[in-house]
């Protein structure tokens, strides 16, 4: 018996860019921009954003180079540890953990600040008689607790929602920026807001650069996804670099909009922003356009919540990884038995996050986040130099940054200056960072030094699937119905003289690193082996895929094995708004192969098969499957057509001719009836198995009404096989539309 263990790969370049940009526009910009205009001036903020974009791009190049050479590692901590080991490696992880926690705290505060900004003028607020500051404090804790709870629950199906939020954020900010350009064309006098371009000197521009740097962190999340990206060696470096440029452009437009939008005397722009503090951005956009306040507030709220969620799980992952590397106590790498989340790491991260949130004002939290991220990126640049110099020959790079080593050296120099300069914005932030580093040093002396861990060995082997024979892939998860599902898959594989692949996808939530799914591998292998032992055919292979998302896991296996037909089980009880189920809808309409859905019900022996058909393309495929199973079980197939339009019999037979051609011994039955579903279900009582082609209806009809075949399959109490043929280009168009409208 041969079983392969693989990681699922489903993230494309656009997915990765969305992830990176979503994290970068993580609310930091909403708070930091207004405050920075306050001290650097209207032109100073634009210069700060442009220069920060360049420094971020330099660091992004180091990241991209490291990610291309070490695609499975992912994350700043892992790269720095790979290069330096020992104390520097430990400190980088320790600082990275704190950076993510502080960023999370900043996002929770941004959420509260902007929500209160939106609500404070509504009657609801005056009704409760709460001071805005008190309401903000309550809200900050509430939102942090809410996302901690979500992370504890191990919710991992957030990918699509995150994409929608990111598209919403980007388009809102770009819309505001473009609106501001047109606004300026109509009101050129607003350009006088730039008359005092840098009112307080270049030192303040440096301060603004340091203070807004937090808005340029987040692309490293792309490197985390190295294990799940399609063609990671090419897509990851590209996604990292493109997202930095896209975000810099967006920020420049956004800051321009704020400056031209604010209603203030052109000689007192910076003073106005200084007085408004964190909500300066909100006020400026409110002045710029109708409903601007609402628009920017919603963008800030969405950005902060998605970024808060992402930073909580990223910080949990860093604490978990350090513990797994024996640099922190082993309790932090324990995984919850049922939720599969590193719950202790999450708990400790949450306590620190709540502590920072309660104790510090938002400006100091933002400054702390800036310092720690600058330090982390500084180390990443150093790691890129060290790794290329020492191990460049042995590593397989798919991206080499140009002008090496000048770019990373320049980035180190600038980041060092900026991090030191932040002292002028918030001395408290430096004190807190210093304290955190001191605690880290103590911990290293007491604990981390002892446990330097060996390399985490990966048993994952990707093999090129070259030999082409008919492949049937049966995805199994539930031991109760696995045999039943695989039974049908076996018959198809046997008839086609093909190969049967038994797939079990082990999923872990986003909070847990994907390789930790290994812990649950024995159960998966046990299930595959138990099913395999009962099969008669010889060409059977087992495959275990690790994934954060079941859909991606299955689709990844389908692609890797170049599968011809995918067999899945179905409970027949879809959730609201889904035709088949949240996962199945996506798999069925996205799989680049034929799909069979089996709704298993108990039946002693299959003697009579019912094939309800109206002659559609999927019905022809259903007839092929009916023929295979009728031969395997020696059963009789009856083709059923419900004549709702009083058509003549010859016409019906002509329409069903393609279906009838596929069957060697068939009976055709034409019933009169008003309701197709009820008639078929009534007739099915006398049969042992119902095989039916999927709906031919368009994607909008499916969304609104579901399909007749799906309804029959759902309501019928006999075993049902639902068949969907891959229609080549038509299926591709369907998939393309489906992806864009989130089906």
């Amino acid at each position: 018996m041969e079983e392969k263990v693989s990681l699922s790969r489903g993230l494309s370049l656009s997915h990765l860019m969305m992830m990176g940009m979503g994290m970068m526009i993580g609310a930091g910009v909403f708070v930091a921009t207004g405050i920075s205009i306050g001290f650097a001036g209207s032109g100073g903020i634009l210069v700060a954003f442009a220069l920060n974009g360049l420094i971020a791009l330099f660091s992004a190049m180091s990241f991209a180079e490291l990610a291309s050479a070490l695609p499975t590692a992912g994350g700043a901590y892992t790269y720095i540890d790979e290069a330096f080991k020992g104390l520097v490696g430990f400190l980088s992880g320790w600082i990275n953990w704190f950076a993510l926690i502080v960023a999370g705290s900043l996002y929770a505060m941004t959420f509260a600040t902007y929500t209160i900004f939106l609500l404070k003028e509504t009657p609801l607020f005056s009704f409760f008689h709460i001071a805005p500051s008190t309401a903000e404090e309550i809200l900050v804790i509430a939102v942090a607790l809410f996302f901690i709870a979500i992370n504890y629950k191990g919710v991992s199906e957030t990918g699509d929602v995150e994409n929608i939020i990111t598209i919403g954020q980007m388009s809102t900010l770009l819309f505001i920026g473009i609106f501001a350009i047109f606004f300026t064309l109509l009101h050129p006098e607003r350009l006088s807001h730039f008359s005092e371009f840098i009112p307080n000197g270049w030192g303040k521009v440096l301060m603004a650069m340091g203070f807004t740097y937090v808005g340029f962190e987040g692309y490293e999340v792309i490197a985390h996804a190295g294990e799940e990206a399609i063609n990671p060696k090419e897509t990851i470096p590209k996604a990292i670099l493109y997202s930095v440029v896209a975000v810099t452009t967006t920020y420049l437009l956004f800051a321009f909009a704020a400056v031209v939008g604010i209603n203030a005397d052109s000689l007192h722009i910076s003073e106005t922003f200084a007085a408004l503090g964190p909500i300066g951005m909100g006020q400026a956009i409110k002045d710029l356009m109708p409903y601007g306040g609402l628009l920017v507030t919603l963008a800030a709220i969405f950005s902060s919540t998605s970024a808060l969620n992402a930073t909580i799980y990223s910080s949990t992952r860093v604490a978990f990884a350090m513990s797994r590397d024996r640099k922190l106590p082993s309790i932090l790498s324990r995984i919850h038995g049922t939720r599969r989340v590193p719950h202790y790491a999450l708990f400790v991260s949450s306590i620190i996050l709540l502590g920072v949130t309660v104790m510090l004002p938002i400006e100091d939290v933002a400054a702390s986040a800036d310092i720690v991220f600058l330090l982390i990126f500084l180390f990443v640049n150093a790691a890129a130099i060290k790794i290329r110099v020492e191990r460049g020959d042995e590593l397989d790079y798919s991206f080499l940054m140009p002008y090496f080593p000048y770019i990373p050296l320049f980035a180190i120099f600038l980041q060092l200056i900026l991090s030191i300069w932040i002292f002028h914005v918030s001395p408290i932030a430096w004190a807190i960072t210093g304290l955190w580093i001191a605690v880290g040093l103590l911990l290293y002396v007491a604990y981390g030094r002892k446990g330097e861990r060996k390399e985490f060995e990966r048993e994952v082997v990707f093999e090129e699937v070259s030999e082409k024979r008919y492949r049937v892939l049966a995805a199994i998860a539930n031991p109760k119905n696995a045999e039943n599902i695989v039974g049908y898959a076996e018959k198809v594989a046997e008839y086609k003289d093909g190969e049967l692949i038994l797939l079990n996808v082990v999923t872990v939530p986003e909070q847990t690193p994907i390789e930790e799914a290994k812990r649950f591998e024995p159960e998966a292998l046990k299930l595959i082996r138990s099913v395999k032992d009962k099969l008669k055919i010889k060409n059977v292979e087992g495959a275990v895929y690790y994934a954060h998302n079941l859909v991606r896991g299955i689709l990844s296996a389908v692609r890797d094995y170049k599968v011809d037909i995918l067999v899945l089980g179905w409970k027949g009880r879809p959730r609201w708004r889904y035709v088949l189920g949240s996962h199945l809808d996506k798999i069925v309409w996205s799989a680049p192969c034929d799909v069979i859905l089996v709704k298993p019900e108990k039946v002693e022996k299959i003697r009579k098969i019912l094939l309800p058909s109206n002659g559609g393309v999927h019905s022809v495929m259903a007839a092929e499957i009916a023929e295979i199973l009728s031969k395997a079980y020696n059963a009789q197939v009856t083709v059923l057509n419900v004549n709702v339009n009083n058509e003549d019999e010859d016409r019906i037979k002509r329409r069903l001719s393609h279906v009838l051609e596929r069957l060697s011994r068939d009976t055709i039955k034409i019933l009169e009836g008003r309701n197709i579903v009820d008639t078929v279900i009534k007739e099915a009582k006398d049969y042992d198995l119902v095989i039916i082609g999927a709906t031919n209806e368009g994607i909008l009809q499916r969304l609104l009404f579901g399909g007749i075949p799906e309804e029959i399959a759902r309501r019928c109490n006999k075993p049902v096989i639902l068949v969907k043929r891959d229609l080549g280009i038509m299926s591709w168009i369907n998939r393309w539309i489906g992806k864009r409208i989130g089906v």
Partner: protein, 66 residues
């Protein structure tokens, strides 16, 4: 126009052009390396196929009746 404004606008334009230049240059590198890898893989494959054909050819010669 004050001097700070001239310097500031020059910096913004300069950095932006540099960023776009670096990204395009990097894109080229990534694609060039990817193409090289594909070429290498193909070369390996062709070598393998040639070797297999040679073996077949030899075995056919042996089997040919005299």
């Amino acid at each position: 126009m004050e001097i700070n404004m001239i310097i500031g606008i020059s910096i913004i334009m300069g950095t932006y052009i540099t960023m776009v230049y670096l990204v395009l240059k990097s894109k080229k590198t990534i694609e060039k390396l990817a193409r090289e890898k594909i070429r290498e893989r193909r070369a390996r494959h062709v070598k393998k196929v040639k070797a297999t054909r040679e073996v077949h050819h030899i075995s056919n010669i042996k089997r040919r009746p005299r």
